[in-house]
Point group: C2
Chain length 321, copies 2
């Protein structure tokens, strides 16, 4: 079984080449540049792990992993347009440098090239792969739309938020694992459990991400703490606080959501602490993590084969903060 | 062999149902509405004709035709964002009504559903179908990018313009025919000729479209005559006029391109007439039409089977205006 680092390197050497034609450079060069400023390649690693859990990694899994990575990057380029984001991974976004039209069109063509990679898969399961890939792609779009819809609504409920965040982020992690497992020859039973492992792990990760944005150590977290609070972003924490605080605290929280005093972050954090959000978030995260491990246990392969997925869960979810 | 009208009706009864989930309605309802405001369904008809030229129409051809129609509509939704177009087919564009983000995301999900239809194709040629579909999709994006690049350049050459317009419009017509012919079991030789028939016919159609925008009868043409001139759009006519006029006429034309006097359309048309653009455009259109017919003749099937394609060429290209 391969470690996360081995799979990251293995994918990188497969993926690290030009993916697009050279002409017209005005369309394709921004995309090459964006892809080379890589993230952690979590989703392609999940594809490879999903395969290796059930058998030796097949060349198909690399094509699949590349398709998933291109799809993920396509969503980032388009999301950045919608969010009017100036920065991504510390660099100016595609639309900020090259204009919205090129970013829009570039995202489109990146999506087409994702399907080029899928079309290289030789497995007789190709139709099933494309079906799950498409189902997931639609869900990710639905999640983004719900996220935008929620920006205009003040009383988003926790279960609605969980549904949205699951579509926006967890299903692609889950599908990456299941798609890899299809290449690896997993049974339907095992495919179902590996998907649910990924889906629950993704929700736990998002809870942690929201938590760290408010309470994390700025040096370890790597981005500005309190950014979500500053921008009134709906998060697990804000939604829980709006559902549970009462009286003066609720009045104060609602006031802070429509204003930006200099001490906004501190005042919101103070309300969060008063309603015990720290313990609540940790418990919720653990609940999803336990669900994830339950499904991992249910997968009918020897325990030792599951070690890389356990390591991945530990890599993504820190339990000792 | 089926007539254009029969194939249009046949496709319509296949296609005229809900294509997207109902939730979230904020994402999917605008797309259903856009698709129901149908165009002439030329591209799906070409898919069906491409199939029927070589054999009975297979169910696969309907799935293919739906994929091509969804892809075409996806490009329209995204192009309208890029062009900031307020109207499409006489109605407000998706982004004008629902905002740019929903139009962007809606286009994305329409593209995914196009691949859902491709994935329903049962033919063993599916990989070849997806390969040609993807190649064409990339070319259409390249054409749109070149079109935007050309807006910023004053000296676009005729061959560069033809290359761009071919990518932006002709290759999808050509590919629709070839994709249908793959389902129909055409040989590589015949596939090559049907593609070239469509490609050349598409260029002839675009020359005619540019011509009619300047010289057409407003009642027959169905849109404002002179619109391209008003917006300084690069067309076959403008590029030829810039390449061939000299002296005062060229000075006047360049002046008109940077100003908008009330009589702009009349003054540009006067220059067009002086450089004999009418005869030139007609000759160029006929040249491409002849090329198209040459390739149609080369297809190795009995002449009578080609009648619907000849009727389609006559339907698209009027020779008696």
């Amino acid at each position: 079984m391969s470690s996360i680092e081995t799979l990251q390197q293995s994918f990188e050497s497969f993926f690290n080449h030009r993916h697009f034609p050279t002409v017209p450079p005005s369309l394709y060069d921004p995309l090459e540049e964006f892809l080379s400023n890589s993230g952690k390649r979590i989703r392609p690693v999940l594809c490879l792990m999903g395969n290796e859990l059930f058998g030796d990694i097949h060349q198909d899994a690399y094509h699949l992993a590349a398709a998933v990575e291109l799809f993920h990057n396509f969503t980032l380029v388009h999301d950045d347009i919608m969010d009017k984001a100036p920065l991504r991974r510390g660099k100016a976004t595609v639309h900020a440098v090259h204009g919205e039209s090129t970013a829009l069109l570039g995202g489109d063509v990146m999506m087409v090239v994702a399907y080029d990679y899928l079309n290289k898969i030789e497995s007789p399961q190709l139709k099933k792969v494309i079906h799950l890939f498409n189902k997931t792609a639609k869900e990710v779009c639905e999640g983004q739309q719900l996220d935008m819809d929620f920006e205009k609504i003040s009383d988003v409920k926790l279960d609605e938020y969980i549904h949205m965040i699951q579509l926006k982020t967890s299903v692609l992690l889950a599908a990456s694992l299941q798609l890899g497992s299809i290449i690896g020859g997993a049974s339907d039973h095992n495919q179902g459990h590996i998907y649910e492992f990924g889906r629950n792990l993704g929700i736990a990760f998002q809870i942690q991400d929201d938590y760290l944005d408010a309470f994390g150590d700025p040096e370890k977290f790597g981005k500005q703490v309190g950014g979500d609070i500053q921008s009134n972003k709906k998060t697990f924490l804000l939604i829980h606080a709006l559902e549970t605080t009462q009286g003066n605290d609720l009045t104060e929280l609602n006031h802070l959501l429509t204003s930006s005093p200099a001490d906004k972050v501190d005042r919101v954090l103070s309300i969060y602490r008063k309603c015990g959000i720290d313990a609540w978030a940790n418990t919720l995260k653990e609940t999803y993590l336990e669900k994830a491990y339950h499904h991992l246990n249910e997968i009918a392969v020897s325990a030792v084969r599951k070690d890389p997925l356990k390591a991945l869960a530990q890599y993504l979810i820190k339990r000792d903060k």
